[in-house]
């Protein structure tokens, strides 16, 4: 049966609110940096973050004076908060690159509103992460020994150790993330240079914009560079947390030595990264009135990514348990029992609740579109992902093969202060960032407004 169909193409799904043009995008975002007065909320938030940053300085100062003995680490738990927090922060840093690089290659225009501050979040999170292994070495001033530098003693790093791979993976990731972020900023810095009235500010943005004129040649080179950086960054999204997972998985400790670790670590990283994106995006859109740029659609998409990656993490937990019970190795079976019934049972149940059970409410669209609920669930996920790393590090190390070597781990006040301090560092940098640099990518947002549509005669 031949049916004649007359149809009209569907309007392009636009991820930003209606009524915006090229000018309004520029005005709205530059206004936050150049004209908007500093609010009380911002000042209080920054002061709180600075307070925590002060605690970090105190904790690091005392650590350098006394050594890592001030922390709760001891044999058998030689990896305590330092490694838990390192993995947690590195994981959070993953969403930025995923949004910037992978979603760019997948041609997802909704990323345009959130990529800039997600990239900033990545850089700040990697800075926080990098502190922990550095301090955990005990003599951070000798940290350069981890690099393969020729030396008179003929001492070289152990290249077969994933801990050394980490040095390269994380430093490469940090470098590429910074370059990617800065390259993306250049057109916006030029816009700020051209918009600013104050000559000092104009000069500063002008120097950073590196002579950008917005000519067709500049745009062509910019687009090529951006695409290349996106291509280079994409494998890094996988490689960094894969190498972090190898830190554990190549060892034979039960609970660490399992083949699912690499993809499950990567999924967990994206899970916590998107949770942090939402924790930042939801207050930002309310405080700065940018909910027509970061719309409900963005929250919905981010929540869906969180749900999907959370389910992969759940698959990982299930496979880990299944393999331990199916394989039947004595120590693996004990690990399952120990997590469910051992001294850290509460932490494990908390992990299952926060990482797996509670986030299932994200199946409900109404909840995905409710910023407050979404904010709370994202906080819950961040707690859950922290607990996951705590369980992996502490439960496995505290009870390994020989019962006589069993022990327990209790973090000290200095552990907590260092952890809280990195939160201070992170939020201090975020508070400063939202006021001095465009937190939303103006150039890319302009590609979404109706004026940017190509019209054929």
């Amino acid at each position: 049966m031949a049916q004649t169909v007359e149809r009209v193409s569907l309007a392009r799904e636009n991820p930003i609110g209606p009524g915006h043009g090229l000018g309004s995008v520029t005005d709205k975002i530059t206004d936050i940096i150049l004209r908007r007065p500093i609010g009380l909320g911002w000042v209080l938030g920054l002061l709180t973050a600075l307070g925590l940053l002060g605690a970090l300085h105190l904790a690091i100062g005392y650590l350098l004076y006394r050594g890592t003995g001030i922390w709760g680490v001891n044999i058998p738990v030689g990896w305590g908060f330092a490694i838990v927090n390192f993995v947690w922060w590195i994981g959070i840093g993953h969403a930025g690159t995923l949004i910037s690089a992978i979603l760019c290659l997948l041609r997802q225009p909704w990323r345009n509103s959130i990529n800039r501050f997600a990239e900033a979040m990545t850089i700040f999170a990697v800075m926080c992460a990098g502190l922990f292994p550095l301090l955990h070495t005990g003599r951070p001033w000798l940290a350069y020994w981890m690099f393969p530098l020729p030396n008179s003693m003929g001492v070289w790093p152990q290249f077969r150790s994933p801990l050394i791979w980490d040095v390269f993976a994380v430093s490469t990731y940090a470098t590429i993330s910074i370059v990617f972020w800065f390259v993306g900023l250049i057109p916006d810095l030029a816009t700020l240079r051209d918009t600013a009235k104050n000559p000092v500010i104009r000069g500063l943005f002008g120097a950073l914009a590196m002579g950008w004129t917005g000519s067709a040649r500049h745009w062509k080179r910019y687009e090529s560079a951006y695409l290349l950086l996106a291509g280079l960054s994409t494998p890094l999204v996988l490689s960094v947390h894969t190498v972090v997972s190898f830190d554990f998985a190549v060892g034979i400790v039960p609970g660490w030595h399992t083949t699912i670790f690499p993809p499950y670590f990567v999924a967990g990283a994206i899970y916590s990264g998107f949770a942090m994106v939402l924790v930042l995006a939801i207050p930002i859109r309310a405080a700065y009135g940018v909910s027509d740029f970061i719309t409900e659609k963005h929250l919905d998409f981010a929540a869906k990514v969180m749900l999907a990656t959370g389910l992969i993490v759940g698959y990982g937990y299930l496979m880990e348990f299944f393999t331990a019970l199916y394989g039947g190795a004595q120590y693996d079976r004990f690990l399952v029992w120990n997590r469910l019934h051992g001294p850290y049972q509460l932490a494990y149940i908390g992990l299952l609740m926060t990482n797996i059970v509670i986030p299932q409410v994200l199946w409900i669209k109404k909840i995905r579109l409710q910023p407050i609920f979404l904010f709370l669930i994202s906080c819950v996920v961040l707690v859950g992902m922290w607990l996951e790393r705590f369980i992996i590090v502490v439960v496995s190390l505290s009870r390994d093969f020989v019962t006589s070597s069993w022990g327990s781990y209790v973090p000290t006040i200095w552990d907590w202060m260092t952890y809280a301090g990195t939160l201070g560092l992170f939020f201090t940098l975020m508070f400063l960032f939202v006021r001095v640099l465009p937190m939303i990518n103006m150039a890319e947002m302009k590609t979404l407004v109706p004026e940017a549509e190509v019209h054929h005669a």
Binding site: T4, V5, V8, S9, L10, F246, V250, P262, Y315, G327
Partner: protein, 410 residues
Amino acid sequence: MSVTTQWTSSAVATPEVAKKLSTRAFVVGLVAALGSAFGFITGAENFMQAYLVGYLFWLCVTFGCLGWLMIHYIAARGGWGLIGRRIWEAGVANFPLMFVLGLPILFNLPKLYIWARPAAVAADEHLRYVTGAWLSMSGVWGRYIGFFAIWIAMAFLLRRWSAEQDLPENEGKALPFQWVAAPGLVIFALTSTFLVVDFSMSLDPAWASSIYGLIFVASSGLACMALTVIVTATLSNYQPMATLLTRTTLHDYGKWCFAVIMLWAYFSFSQWLIIWAGNLPEEIGFFRIRLQGGWEYASLFLALFGWAVPWGLLLSQDIKKSTRTLVPIACWILFMRLFDVFWYVKPSWQASLHPGQAHLFGITPWDILLPIAIGGFWLGSFFWNLRQRPLLPLYAPFATQVLEGEHAHD
């Protein structure tokens, strides 16, 4: 910009050639099946091992069709997803066929699996444990029936709603695809993993790897995408695929092949590195038997030609955009997926049923004939299913954009 386009449902009908391909595939399958029947008489164990390889490979292709179909409904409703939809639907309609084709394996478990031999179980403590914990006869049968019931039900619902979308009165009507596709992906990941554990990982019941299921899921996705390239390219010699398959869509399929081949390699490499570094007696045996007796060359071949070479070629945009270059690579990818299943099955089967013997790399005629036989039936049924519906769901959302593709007005 709104554009009005005129298209008829007969203009998007599957071409007659699908019928011819279906008949040819059935004939090839039948001839190969008759030829391999001799193998069952001369050596039932070897025959069943080859049957398992062929079956698992075509099951992977079917899994891939279900996976991509569900991904299409939740994340890729336009472009490449919409053009692949009817192909994947024809693939998932083969689940009942795969259920029937799997029964010979279940009726011949002792020929394949050490855990299905009561005498061996009685003599080995670990086998007693693992058969008690998971690999019981009733458990394997129950899971097989239950999993197929789930897959057939999901395929049925998705196909039924898709057929409803072919009716003009349903244009623009919201059909509940996502209600099956979203939870379906979770259910599919778990059920396919556990089926692969029962049918493949349990060949060596003393060995376990938690990434095993994901490796097969990636392999399934890759095999199906390679098949999609081959089928769309073949049909692009006829209308409507000649219009529908644009260079952009082909490029997208090529990109997916590139990405999933990397994913498969990533999972496989992770499995190897972690087990190699751990070097535990209960784990390392899996790789030891694959690194001696000629199997080391097979392993190297798999790494080089299963990943490095096709992946390297697919880096090129030009290669991905032309059927002339992409189709041979897709055929090669499909062959390497079969080789990968062979690499997983045969050494474990040899080592567990004949311990203490030298396990040399070898290919029997049945290793070639049986995948062709099962494939013949699979493809015969596939093209028959494909023929039943138009090649493009004309009233689906985003169909207009597909019809306004690069060559739409040629």
